[in-house]
C-alpha cells in the first residue's frame, strides 16, 4: 500500500471522525435540550400532582364522611371526620388492624367479605354496619369501599363511612310506629281487615280470624274471604267491596250474615274507611265489623217473647171471652129460669088470697103477704144482679154529659115513688163529665136513691149534689143529712151483698153501691165515702177529665 493511499485513507478517516463528532455534538445538543424539556415537564407534572394531591386531601379532609385507607387490612391514612366519628387520633389508628373499628369479629369478617368481593370486581362495595368508637359506643354507618388497584385489591382500599344514626332511628321509629299500628289493629276487639284495591288483604286481625275460624293465611285476598264467608251470596258483597276504594269518608255497609269455618252463621255490622295509598299507589280501605250476632239473637228472643206474650194474651182473651159468654148464658138462664118460679110463687099466692079470701083469717093473709113480698124482693135482687153482671160486658160510649141536668132528671123519677116526703134537692155549680151517659145515670140513680132512702127518718131531708173540675179528674159528691154510717165499715160499703142496715130498717139488695163502684172503675175513676152515724153521708166519685170539658154555667 502507498503512502498516498494511506494518507488518503487517513484523510478520509479523519473526515469521517469529524463528521461523527459533529453528529455527536449535534445529538448532545439535542439531548441537552430534551433533558431540559423533560425536566421542565417533570416539574410541571410534579406541581400538578402536588396540586391534585392537595385537592384530594382537602376533599377528604372536608368530606362529611369518614374516609380512610386500608392496606392489607392495616389502617393507613384517615381523615378528620373518621377520627371525629371514632374518637381515635391519627396515630392511634395508623398501623393498627382495621378490626378495632368493628363491634365484633363476625361483623368485621362480614363487612370484609362484602368489601373485598366488590373490590375485586372493580365495584364500589356498600354495607351497613356499626363503628365501634374508642369510648366503646357504636355508630350506625353506611360503608363504601373501593380498591385503589383492581389487580391487587388487598394492597390498598379506600373506604368511606357515613353516619346514618338519624336515618336509622327515623327508620326505627317508623318501624315501631308501624308495628304499633299493626298491633293496635291486631289486638282491637273488633274484627278488622285492611285490604287494597286489587283485592290483596294487607292485614286481618286476630278477632276476625278467631270469630270466623279462617286462619289469616287462608284470607290472602278479599275474594278468598267472600268465597268462604258468603258462598252463594258473594256476588253482591264483592260488588260492594269493589265500590269501597273510591270512598273518601267512613261508610256504613250494614249488617251481613257470614258463615264461619264451623258452618255457623254470624251477623256482622260493617263499616269501612279509606286508608290512603300503599307506596305502589294502590288504594287501601280499612273495614271494621261489629259482631252483632248475640244482640240480634237477643232481639229475636225479645221478639219471640213478645209474640209469645201476644199469643198468650190472645189465648187469655179467648178464654175470657169464652168465660164471658158462659157468664152471659148463665145470667140469661138466671134471668129467665129464676124469675119464672118467683112469678109463680107471687102469682099463686095472690090467686090464693083472692080466691080463698073468705076462708083466710088475718094471719093467713099476712103469711101470704110475706110470701108475695119475698118473691118481689128476690125478683129485684135478680134484676140488680143481672144489671151488675151485664155492666162488665157493656161497651162504653163517651159523651159530654151535663151532670146537673141528669141529676135533676134522676131525682124527679125517684121522688115519684115517695111524693108525700119533703126532700130538698140542691144542685151546685157542677162541671160536665166526659162519660157514658147510661152508666153515669145508673151511678146517680143509686147514689141519689140511697140518699133519699137513708134520709127517710128525717122530716126535712136535704140532698146536695156538687162537684169541681180538676186537671186530672173531676170530683163529684152527693151529700145527705140521713142516718149516715160508721166509718169503720166504710170499706164494706161497696162490696156486693154487704149491707150496713137490716132489711126492715131499709130495704135493699146490697148491690147498688157495688154497681156504682164498678161503673166508676170502668171509667178509671175513684169512689169513696165519708159518713157520721146519724149525721149523714157524703159519697164522692172522681172521673178522669178526658179531653176538654166545659164548666156548667147553670146553677141551682
Amino acid at each position: 500500500m502507498s503512502a498516498a493511499s494511506l494518507r488518503q485513507e487517513l484523510e478520509e478517516a479523519r473526515a469521517t471522525i469529524r463528521a461523527l463528532h459533529e453528529e455527536l455534538e449535534e445529538t448532545n445538543r439535542g439531548l441537552a435540550a430534551l433533558a431540559f424539556e423533560l425536566e421542565e415537564r417533570v416539574d410541571e407534572r410534579t406541581a400538578e400532582l402536588r396540586r391534585s394531591e392537595g385537592m384530594l386531601r382537602s376533599v377528604f379532609r372536608a368530606a362529611p364522611v369518614g374516609i380512610g385507607v386500608v392496606s392489607n387490612r392495616i389502617l393507613g391514612w384517615t381523615n378528620d371526620k373518621l377520627r371525629e366519628m371514632t374518637g381515635y387520633s391519627a396515630e392511634e389508628l395508623e398501623g393498627k388492624s382495621s378490626r378495632i373499628l368493628y363491634v365484633s369479629d363476625e361483623e368485621y369478617e362480614r363487612v370484609g367479605r362484602i368489601k373485598y368481593a366488590q373490590a375485586e370486581a372493580g365495584d364500589v362495595a356498600a354495607a351497613e354496619t356499626q363503628l365501634l368508637t374508642k369510648s366503646g359506643d357504636t355508630v350506625d354507618v353506611l360503608m363504601n369501599a373501593t380498591a385503589t388497584d383492581v389487580r391487587d385489591p388487598q394492597a390498598s382500599i379506600v373506604f368511606a363511612v357515613m353516619d346514618i344514626t338519624d336515618r336509622k332511628s327515623a327508620e326505627k321509629s317508623l318501624r315501631e310506629s308501624e308495628r304499633r299500628f299493626r298491633r293496635a289493629i291486631e289486638y282491637a276487639p273488633f274484627p278488622i281487615m285492611i285490604h287494597a284495591e286489587d283485592g290483596e288483604v294487607i292485614q286481618v286481625n286476630e278477632v276476625w280470624t278467631e270469630l270466623t275460624g279462617y286462619p289469616a293465611a287462608t284470607l290472602r285476598t278479599t275474594n278468598e274471604w267472600t268465597e268462604k264467608a258468603y258462598r252463594d251470596q258473594k256476588g253482591p258483597v264483592r260488588n260492594l267491596i269493589g265500590n269501597l276504594y273510591g270512598i273518601d269518608r267512613r261508610v256504613r255497609e250494614g249488617e251481613f250474615e257470614i258463615r264461619t269455618a264451623d258452618g255457623d252463621s254470624r251477623i256482622w255490622d260493617f263499616e269501612s274507611a279509606p286508608l290512603g295509598r300503599l307506596p305502589d299507589g294502590r288504594r287501601m280501605v280499612i273495614s271494621i265489623a261489629k259482631d252483632v250476632t248475640e244482640r240480634k239473637q237477643a232481639e229475636q228472643e225479645v221478639q219471640r217473647l213478645n209474640e209469645d206474650l201476644e199469643r198468650r194474651v190472645d189465648e187469655r182473651t179467648a178464654e175470657l171471652t169464652a168465660a164471658n159468654a158462659e157468664l152471659e148464658s148463665f145470667s140469661y138462664s138466671v134471668s129467665h129460669d129464676l124469675r119464672a118460679p118467683l112469678r109463680a110463687i107471687g102469682g099463686f099466692a095472690q090467686m090464693l088470697e083472692e080466691e080463698c079470701a073468705e076462708t083466710l083469717d088475718e094471719e093467713g093473709r099476712r103469711l101470704l103477704n110475706v110470701i108475695r113480698s119475698s118473691a118481689k124482693d128476690m125478683g129485684q135482687l135478680i134484676d140488680d144482679l143481672l144489671a151488675f153482671s151485664r155492666l162488665g160486658r157493656k161497651a162504653m160510649t163517651f159523651t159530654d154529659v151535663e151532670m146537673d141536668k141528669l141529676a135533676r132528671e134522676v131525682f124527679q123519677q125517684i121522688k115519684v115513688f115517695e111524693p108525700e116526703r119533703s126532700v130538698k134537692f140542691v144542685v151546685h155549680d157542677i162541671p160536665r163529665a166526659r162519660t157514658d151517659r147510661a152508666m153515669i145515670r145508673e151511678v146517680l140513680a143509686n147514689l141519689i136513691g140511697n140518699a133519699c132512702k137513708y134520709t127517710r127518718p128525717r122530716e126535712r131531708a136535704i140532698i146536695e149534689f156538687g162537684g169541681r173540675a180538676g186537671d186530672a179528674e173531676n170530683v163529684y159528691w152527693i151529700k145527705d143529712n140521713g142516718v149516715g154510717f160508721d166509718m169503720k165499715y166504710a170499706e164494706k160499703l161497696f162490696q156486693v151483698f154487704q149491707r150496713l142496715h137490716s132489711a126492715d130498717e131499709f130495704e135493699g139488695t146490697g148491690i147498688g153501691l157495688a154497681l156504682v163502684e164498678r161503673i166508676v172503675k170502668r171509667h178509671d175513676g175513684r169512689l169513696w165515702a165519708e159518713g157520721v152515724v146519724n149525721q149523714g153521708a157524703t159519697f164522692f166519685f172522681a172521673l178522669p177529665s178526658r179531653g176538654k170539658h166545659d164548666e156548667s154555667d147553670e146553677s141551682c
Binding site: Y332, H336, G347, L386
Partner: protein, 147 residues
C-alpha cells in the same frame, strides 16, 4: 070495633104456671075467649102451618095474636118468630114476645125479626096481670088488623 069476630090467641109457653097466670090475666080482661096453647116452638109451627099433628087444621084459620115465650123446648121462640115473619101467610099476625129475658140481644134480635111487641114478664103478679091483659086488649080489640 066489633066483638063478633071470634078472638083467637095462640099462646106459646112451656111453663104451666106462666100459662095459668097468663090465662088468668087474659080472662080478667075478657080476652081469653078462644085461646090455643102449645108447649114448644115445634108445635107452634105445626099449628100455624097446619102440619104434623095439626095436619087437619085449616091453614087459613089464622090466630089474631101470638103470645110467644122465647125460651122454649125444641124450637126456640126466636125461630118461631122468624118462621112467622118470613112467611107470606103468617107475616101479618101480630106477635108479642112475652118473656123473662131482659137481655139486650134478645130484644134487638126480636125487633130485627119484626116482632110487634116485646114484653118482659114482671115478677110482680099485679104488674103481670096488667101487662098481659093490656097486651091482649090492645092487639085484639084496639088494633085494626089488615084481615
Amino acid at each position: 070495633m066489633s066483638q063478633t069476630s071470634p078472638v083467637e090467641i095462640l099462646l106459646v109457653e112451656d111453663n104451666p104456671h106462666d100459662v095459668e097466670l097468663t090465662l088468668r090475666a087474659l080472662k080478667k080482661h075478657n080476652v081469653a075467649n078462644r085461646l090455643h096453647m102449645v108447649k114448644d116452638g115445634a108445635e107452634a109451627i105445626d099449628f100455624l102451618f097446619a102440619s104434623g099433628a095439626y095436619e087437619d087444621r085449616d091453614p087459613n084459620d089464622r090466630p089474631k095474636l101470638i103470645l110467644l115465650d122465647l125460651k122454649l123446648p125444641k124450637v126456640g121462640g126466636l125461630e118461631v118468630l122468624r118462621a112467622v115473619k118470613s112467611d107470606e101467610r103468617t107475616r101479618n099476625i101480630p106477635v108479642v114476645v112475652l118473656t123473662s129475658s131482659r137481655e139486650e140481644k134478645d130484644i134487638v134480635e126480636s125487633y130485627r125479626l119484626s116482632v110487634n111487641s116485646y114484653i118482659v114478664k114482671p115478677v110482680d103478679f099485679d104488674k103481670f096481670l096488667n101487662a098481659v091483659g093490656e097486651v091482649g086488649l090492645y092487639w085484639l080489640l084496639l088494633n085494626v088488623s089488615p084481615f
